[in-house]
């Protein structure tokens, strides 16, 4: 467990806390009615402390952040309660007073650094503004802006100061935002999902940076995230928010190891972690839905979804019980919260994958070159692999590694520049429009974002019936019957047939998208980050559904995800891509347990896990090189922590079968990797 912040921070007893929320009620007025979004939230962030606020979307996390800086939307207001920053009552302030407080006492870092920076102002001037606002002269401000960029470890700060935001990568932009937030040495720093839009390796760097700065500057931090792993890495204490109420609070380690509220218990069980795989059974889920915004909840906010709930839970609001020192749970039955029965039975009969048979889908030496403003961008270079019936091939890699290009080339949405794709031994036409109906039907996709993937003007019935008509040739009553069977198999209730996508929740939309993909009984479905837009409890249900469909229908998946826990859960084999090249391919356990390719090793080490510990972080230096001018030799050598020397810079290693079924593209022999990766990490050049 890495919580260096707390140990280093001076915990002066009796000092004024950085942030105090006391019985905070926030309401939004919608159509003339007050809807309660925060329900009596009480929490304290001590000086120099990092406090994590965690919860699923719609639970009120961001509302809390906005209320603290008095930046609620026009229809929102604090109905009762107190907010104190550094002992100062925030609600009593207004006008210039409030501006002074925002300028001096509190800083905020948002999820999307691209929109937090003004695109028309150079970085240097934007950062300097923080100082000029507070009365520094121009020259002094520029000087201090330079210093703060150095503080956030931006390479070459003097050149960065002359650049515009769009000329920086996402990770660099977020560093600039953090530099601006820290520049005024705020009493409280609010980080609202600061790394959610970033790649795992970049996320890890930004988190390391924030943790380091926090320890160094003793900044008090309110860290808002949906990701328990990130919270575990960054915070000393955590509060779990559900339906606007703080249901559990305590030291991070204690809450994650020994949760005492059924919601926390359920949430932790939803997350595929600790190497759990689909052949270990289904994931657990949380039944039901988040209550509607502002719903009247006389009893426990979680009662409607809680398997342990008794009559008293529906009528009487539980008080905050003290479980142990500093560990609080708002549950009548917190002693037995962990006896929460499984929502889903774990039993699952998976088909055996017979790799002796001929593969279902095979692609050889696939390459794709995009022409972009006179440059040739090599998005994909010589990628070969096969997928057997009933098997899941996981694709992992940072953004820009070619995962999506590969998936779309298989489907025929993008034509490859070279190489071929064959399905059940038959070579497929490169273009979708030249493929036969059968071939089109056999390869389908589930997209990442169901909002974009479903036509918002078409009702469920129309979406499914049209697909059945085109892919299965069904019309009339036969199509209706198949549509209902299909909806049943993805657990989309029949009453939704006339609903438009906007009337469905995120999880239901994704079920509809899955139903559409399965309408023609496909042989292989590409899943392109199908759960990354969803909350963890919904994610678990969707992953269960995909695995169940695989068990039922022997369908194969090509599964793309940046969440390694998710990939590990669903995949039989895993392919690791970097700059359009296959770096490693092998059975899931082998790729995860190692010895692995140095890139895979770095990727794995970058993921903040709930269980903590385990791996030493391997730092990857710099951003992914441009695919327009990939490095010579091994494309990974510019960032590889285990680089051997000249050979890596000059010769591209071949993809070799290092052990049965395990392919790797690295000059370092397998035995050497095994030794290096077992050895203590101090020997690693960082």
């Amino acid at each position: 467990m890495s919580a260096p912040a707390l140990e280093l921070a001076p915990k002066a007893e009796g000092a004024v806390p950085a942030l105090e929320l006391e019985d905070l009620d926030v309401v939004y007025t919608v159509r003339g009615r007050d809807r309660q979004v925060l329900r009596g939230v009480t929490l304290t962030v001590g000086r120099g402390e990092a406090y994590g606020l965690v919860g699923e979307s719609g639970c009120g996390k961001s509302t809390a952040a906005l209320a603290i800086v008095r930046y609620l939307p026009r229809n929102g207001r604090v109905r009762s309660g107190h907010i104190r920053i550094d002992g100062q009552d925030v609600l009593a302030r207004s006008g210039g007073d409030l501006r002074t407080m925002r300028a001096e006492a509190v800083s905020m870092v948002y999820q999307n650094p691209g929109t937090a920076l003004n695109p028309a102002i150079r970085i240097g001037k934007q950062v300097a503004e923080v100082f000029t606002v507070r009365g520094a002269s121009r020259a002094e401000a520029t000087e201090r802006a330079f210093e703060s960029l150095k503080l956030v470890q931006i390479a070459d700060p003097s050149s960065v100061m002359h650049r515009y935001p769009h000329q920086l990568s996402g990770g660099m932009q977020q560093r600039v935002v953090i530099a601006m937030a820290l520049a005024k040495d705020p009493a409280l720093l609010i980080l609202d999902e600061p790394t959610t839009g970033l790649d795992a390796t970049v996320e890890a760097e930004v988190l390391d940076l924030v943790a380091g700065l926090q320890a160094q500057l003793h900044t008090s931090v309110l860290f808002i995230s949906h990701n328990l792993g990130v919270i575990a890495k960054m915070c000393a204490r955590v509060g779990v928010l559900y339906a606007g109420r703080l249901v559990e609070e305590g030291p991070v380690e204690t809450v994650l190891r020994d949760p005492r509220h059924p919601y926390t218990v359920g949430l932790l069980r939803c997350i595929p972690r600790g190497g759990v795989r689909k052949d270990h059974g289904r994931l657990d889920t949380i039944a039901g839905f988040l209550p509607n915004l502002g719903e009247d909840l006389p009893g426990c906010v979680f009662a409607a979804r809680c398997a342990l709930a008794e009559d008293v839970c529906h009528t009487e609001e539980p008080p905050m019980h003290q479980v142990a020192g500093g560990h609080l749970s708002r549950c009548h039955f917190h002693e037995r919260a962990q006896t929460l029965p499984r929502e889903e039975s774990a039993d699952l009969e998976l088909p055996r994958v017979d790799r002796g048979a001929s593969p279902l889908l095979q692609f050889d030496e696939l390459g794709k070159v995009f022409q972009q403003r006179g440059h040739s961008v090599h998005a994909l270079t010589g990628v070969s692999a096969a997928v057997w019936p009933g098997e899941t091939l996981g694709l992992v890699g940072e953004s820009g590694s070619g995962k999506t290009t590969l998936a779309r080339t298989l489907l025929g949405i993008i034509e490859p520049s070279e190489g071929k794709v064959s399905l059940a031994g038959q070579q497929l036409a490169e273009r979708l429009s030249q493929r036969s109906t059968d071939e089109v039907r056999d390869l389908q996709i589930v997209f990442q974002n169901p909002d974009a993937a479903l036509n918002r003007r078409h009702a469920v019935r129309r979406i499914l019936r049209r697909t059945l008509y085109k892919l299965a040739g069904l019309g009339g009553a036969a199509a209706d019957e198949r549509m209902l069977r299909l909806m049943h198999s993805v657990r989309l209730a029949e009453r939704y047939v006339s609903a438009k996508p906007s009337q469905l929740s995120g999880g239901l939309k994704q079920r509809l998208a899955i139903a559409r993909a399965f309408a023609g009984d496909p042989k292989l479905v590409v899943c392109d980050e199908p759960t990354s837009a969803l909350d963890v409890s919904v994610q678990a249900a969707i992953l269960n559904l995909l695995v169940e469909l695989q068990a039922e229908r022997q369908v194969s998946y090509v599964f793309i995800s940046h969440d390694l826990g998710v990939v590990r859960y669903v995949s039989d084999r895993i392919a690791v891509l970097y700059l359009g090249r296959l770096m490693e391919l092998g059975p899931s356990e082998v790729v995860f347990d190692g010895p692995h390719h140095p890139y895979t090793e770095a990727l794995l080490s970058a993921v903040p896990t709930i269980d903590g510990g385990g791996r030493e972080r391997i730092k990857l230096e710099g951003d992914i090189p441009s695919a327009a001018s990939p490095p010579s030799g091994c494309v990974f050598h510019t960032r590889c922590p285990r680089v051997l020397g000249a050979i890596c810079e000059e010769t591209e290693p071949p993809l070799v079968e290092v052990e049965p079924g395990h392919l790797m593209r690295c000059h370092i022999p397998l035995e050497e990797l095994r030794r290096l990766q077992r050895a203590p990490t101090e020997t690693v050049r960082a």
Binding site: T285, A287, G288, F289, N292, A304, R305, E343, E344, L411, I413, L432, S433, T437, V440, R441, L443, Q444, I445, F447, N449, A452, A453, L454, N455, R456, R457, H458, A459, R466, T467, K470, L471, R491, L492, A493, R495, Y496, V497, S498, A499, K500, S502, Q503, L504, S505, G507, L508, A513, R516, A519, G520, A541, N544
Partner: protein
């Protein structure tokens, strides 16, 4: 799995409620209400025409150029016709020509925009440059030239204004289509083997309908202007119609010599009221549909 236990019931009724909510927001929008009121007023008079006007709008029964007074609230013109009756009856031709011309422009422009937006590259490039060249000329010049060439009747007027609007609408629709064509539902349609016309008209068109509706109302305002302008120049509605701009054309020479401003003021105000009203409707629609 009990993931659907407490889901709110949705279905046909829910869709109806959503539609009703959109309507409700429109009805609460003041700009929309005022605009619709004025337009409905003129539509009523266009239909009622001379049957309800105080006097026959084309009969030359009175002393010419009487100033507004108790007998003739808006006075009389130089041929002794009652200006009030002529203003009330004067909406008819405009309200026939402008909406039909707009319809042609919208249908043509939508098709053009869908094709340009859906086929990027050469098709879009070539059509786009042609539109640029076309729009470089003042519209009234194109219209006058075309009307002079084909001869002017009500139908040629409708056709010419409609055709002039087509590329303008096309450009707006193209921009909206560009925002849609890269969304994944378009790829999903292709992945079940849909052809281009289906994707354009069944998948994309409903999603750009809001833009098209707003564009149609804006164009209607311009069409009214175009009809008025061309009529004033003698290429539009022909006498003895009591059309507003025809009245202005008949009487504007009088403004030079003596103060007979009522002969021009009232029909002028009538045109303005209709154009402003249509634009108020466009604003109201835009606010509601752009949410």
């Amino acid at each position: 799995m009990s993931a659907t236990v407490t889901a709110p019931a949705v279905g046909r009724s829910e869709a109806k409620i959503a539609r009703r909510e959109t309507l409700g927001r429109l009805v609460r929008s003041k700009t929309f209400l005022i605009g619709s009121g004025v337009v409905l007023w003129w539509v009523f008079w266009a239909i009622a025409g001379s049957r309800l006007t105080p006097y026959d709008p084309v009969a030359q029964n009175f002393a010419s150029l009487q100033p507004p007074g108790s007998g003739h609230w808006f006075g009389t013109d130089q041929l002794g016709r009652d200006v009030l009756s002529r203003v009330l009856a004067g909406a008819r031709d405009t309200l026939e020509v402008a909406p039909l011309a707009t319809l042609i422009g919208i249908v043509g422009g939508t098709t053009l925009g869908l094709v340009m937006g859906f086929f990027p590259g050469l098709v879009d490039e070539v059509l786009g440059r042609m539109i640029d060249a076309f729009l470089a000329l003042p519209l009234i010049v194109i219209a006058v030239t075309a009307l002079a060439a084909v001869g002017h009747s009500k139908w040629t007027l409708i056709a010419v204004i409609g055709l002039v609007f087509t590329p303008i609408v096309g450009r707006t629709v193209r921009a909206a289509v560009l925002g849609e064509r890269d969304l994944e539902y378009v790829q999903a349609a292709r992945l079940r083997g849909e052809r281009a016309p289906y994707v354009m008209f069944v998948e994309i068109l409903p999603n750009v309908m809001g833009t098209i509706i707003v564009e149609a109302t804006v164009r209607l305002g311009y069409a009214i202007f175009a009809v008025a302008g061309l009529t004033f120049l003698g290429f539009g509605v022909q006498p003895p119609s009591p059309d507003w701009s025809l009245q202005i054309a008949d009487n504007y020479a009088l403004l030079n010599a003596r103060n007979y401003e009522w002969t021009v003021l009232f029909p002028g105000a009538a045109i303005a009221s209709l154009v402003v009203a249509v634009n108020l409707i466009a604003d109201g629609l835009q606010q509601v549909l752009d949410r």
